[in-house]
């Protein structure tokens, strides 16, 4: 399995897939450029063959790019009260405002904040929290899983027991609890700046167990292989064997979990912010925007809620579908 997880090109196998890549058989792999080799890999092949994946990859890419470039492609800075005009408040999308005549693509909220700018900046915050918490839980989970699988014995028993107990509680509950504790520990004056990091920590710590479980299982399989014995035999330290030899071979499953986990983390962040245990209204994520948009549902200003909600759904769904595809593509048994 580890061999299938890299995108090293194997032209002979690929050529068997269809006539489009047939001419590659004659070309030695060494002469192909890096891009051409990547294009020819199994992963790229299964990507080209799945329209759903192409669409969701495009959607995810566009949304991530838009979020990253938000400060340069939006007309106003929604965090800066000076750039807002109260007279522009409650402008419906695409219609001129009754007082100022300004037109906003996605309308404005009660403070005259342009929803298009707010959604892109909100998606930026959501993505930052999502990505950072995934990196955090990945680091913790992979380290503990590797140590548990490689060392075994009592260390393994303790780590896996903790993972078991944690996995039986929903992540959202653990994240809420961590957030609540942080509220009690951090002095009120610093709370607003700290929120971002508290969220990353809370969401990250609530999701590490799954990585640990998978990595431990894969490590157990890898450990019994000859290359590990060989590495040990030449006198390498356990740490070196773990990091340089076992770790690269467990990356496939970890990548799949990380992708699906990113979608989950974004939803988790949105849920926390929606519950009021997340980003403050001065620095809103998509969840905070939905929370503040909810109260206008009854008075007919649907766009204040609708666009952040759609952005969240599109982001989570497209990343989720990408994760599903990656899981199937990396698993040779399903091919």
């Amino acid at each position: 399995m580890p061999e299938e997880t890299t995108d090293r090109a194997r032209p002979v196998v690929d050529g068997a897939h269809g006539p489009t890549t047939g001419d590659v058989i004659a070309t030695p792999a060494a002469r192909l450029g890096v891009l051409a080799r990547a294009w020819d890999s199994d992963i790229a092949y299964s990507f080209r063959r799945s329209p759903v994946t192409i669409v969701s990859a495009t959607v995810a890419l566009v949304m991530i790019l838009a979020a990253v470039l938000a400060p340069w492609i939006t007309p106003q800075d929604p965090f800066n009260p000076a750039s807002l005009n109260m007279m522009d408040g409650f402008t419906p999308p695409g219609e001129p405002n009754a007082f100022t005549g300004n037109v906003y693509l996605l309308g404005t909220d009660p403070q005259g904040r342009d929803m298009y700018s707010a959604v892109l900046h909100g998606a930026r915050v959501s993505l930052v929290v999502g990505l950072a918490s995934v990196v955090f839980s990945l680091t913790v989970g992979v380290t503990l899983g590797l140590v548990a699988g490689y060392l075994g014995g009592r260390t393994e028993a303790v780590i896996m027991r903790v993972a078991d107990v944690q996995l039986s509680f929903p992540a959202i509950l653990i994240a809420l609890l961590v957030f609540g504790i942080a509220r009690g520990v951090i002095p009120p004056a610093q709370q607003e700046q700290a929120t971002l990091f508290v969220l990353i920590f809370a969401i990250g710590i609530s999701n590490w167990a799954q990585y640990a479980r998978t990595v431990r299982a894969t490590t157990l399989v890898e450990k019994s292989k000859v290359y590990v014995d060989a590495a040990r035999l030449i006198g390498l330290k356990p740490f070196v064997v773990m990091v340089k030899h076992v770790l690269p071979n467990v990356t496939g499953p970890v990548l799949v979990i990380a992708t699906i986990n990113l979608a989950l983390a974004i939803i988790e962040e949105a849920t926390l912010s929606f519950l009021g245990a997340g980003m403050p209204p001065t620095q809103p994520s998509l969840g905070t925007l939905i929370r503040s948009g909810q109260q206008f549902l009854f008075s007919g200003e649907w766009w204040i809620l609708f666009f952040p909600a759609m952005a969240l759904i599109l982001l989570a769904l497209s990343i989720n579908l990408l994760g599903d595809w990656l899981r199937d593509a990396l698993n040779p048994k399903l091919r």
């Binding site: 039986s168 609890l177 609540g180 509220r183 939905i290």
Partner: protein
């Protein structure tokens, strides 16, 4: 079998003790309990007296033992924010959450099993495929957005159902129920749909795949060969064997239903334990948080134990030696 159940119980008690320890550490180390309880005018002497009365001067293990003892009697101290005993607050809120969670579980299980069986029997039917696609989308939607969507359709646009609260309730002893009044029942519909939807899709997909698996088994082929009508095979033979894993999952899911009730209760302003917990988190009201944590852990451990026992009762193969080996 008894040894097996005893072992499950021992594990459950261990988990509960660990959770109680976390809850206790929160109570003890997050903020200063005394500063949170006394007013600003309290003198140092008042504070010292309170410290002694609360037993904060005693050694740590003794304090923990006292905490567990009090918790066993349902005493979790006084809420920092509302200045009332946590046990009173919890008891007021408990009926709302229990009714919501049980009805959601009932809804998810019955509808989930029915749709799952249907999707398995009519494997390639149009309706079955539609149901599967909708369920896939449903799994990726955050719960609170489903709730908001339902509110928009049924409360704002159609005006059929209320969008918040429990409606009128009837008190039976300390228990309040919304099941006996019309407005109470109406108020339950949207929260139950919201809370049950995720579990429903989960159970449905599980029943479908299990059922398809079982329908390929040899004993089904032999039943067909004996000329037993297809309906009888589907419901008497196949469904029965499908239900064993379903009971496990459904039981375990009741725990997460209670946890996800946090979100649903906030969307619908439902006066239950979940919204109490969310408020506690926002204001760092540690005694309430600790009590809720212990409550949820107790529910989880109990459900796990019940599922273990049901599992053995339902599947005769697990009785005797093999269950012990597990």
């Amino acid at each position: 079998m008894i040894a097996y159940i005893l072992r499950s119980m021992a594990q459950g008690v261990l988990v509960l003790l660990v959770v109680a320890f976390i809850a206790f550490s929160m109570f003890r180390f997050v903020g200063d309990p005394v500063a949170n309880m006394v007013g600003q005018e309290a003198t140092l002497q008042d504070r010292q007296e309170l410290r002694e009365r609360l037993g904060l001067e005693r050694p740590f293990p003794l304090q923990f033992a006292a905490f567990v003892g009090n918790a066993l009697q349902g005493d979790f101290g006084v809420s920092y924010r509302q200045a009332r005993p946590v046990s009173d607050l919890m008891r007021e809120r408990l009926p709302a959450t229990v009714e919501l969670a049980l009805l959601s579980a009932l809804f998810a299980t019955t509808v989930g099993v029915a749709l799952g069986v249907y999707a398995a029997i009519r494997r390639d039917g149009f309706l079955a495929n539609t149901v599967m696609t909708v369920s896939l989308i449903g799994v990726s939607l955050p719960t609170f957005l489903i709730g908001i969507g339902l509110i928009y359709i049924f409360a704002v646009e159609l005006r059929w159902l209320p969008s918040f609260g429990r409606g009128q309730t009837v008190s039976i002893g300390w228990w309040t129920t919304g099941l006996l009044t019309e407005s109470g029942l109406k108020s339950l519909v949207l929260p139950v749909l919201t809370l049950g939807f995720f579990q429903l899709t989960l159970i449905m997909r599980l029943v479908r795949s299990e059922m398809l698996e079982v329908m390929r088994a040899d004993f089904i082929r032999f039943a067909r060969a004996r000329g037993i009508p297809e309906r009888t095979i589907e419901f008497r033979h196949a469904l029965r064997n499908t239900l064993i894993p379903v009971v496990t999952i459904a039981g375990l899911q009741l725990g997460s239903i209670i946890a996800f009730a946090i979100v649903t209760e906030t969307v619908f302003q439902w006066p239950g334990l979940g919204s109490l917990f969310v408020q506690a988190v926002q204001f760092a009201d540690v005694p309430v948080m600790a009590a809720y944590l212990v409550f949820v852990a107790t529910v989880f451990v109990t459900m796990n134990l019940l599922v273990d026992i049901t599992y053995v009762l339902l599947d005769p193969r697990l009785r005797g030696g093999r269950a012990l080996a597990k």
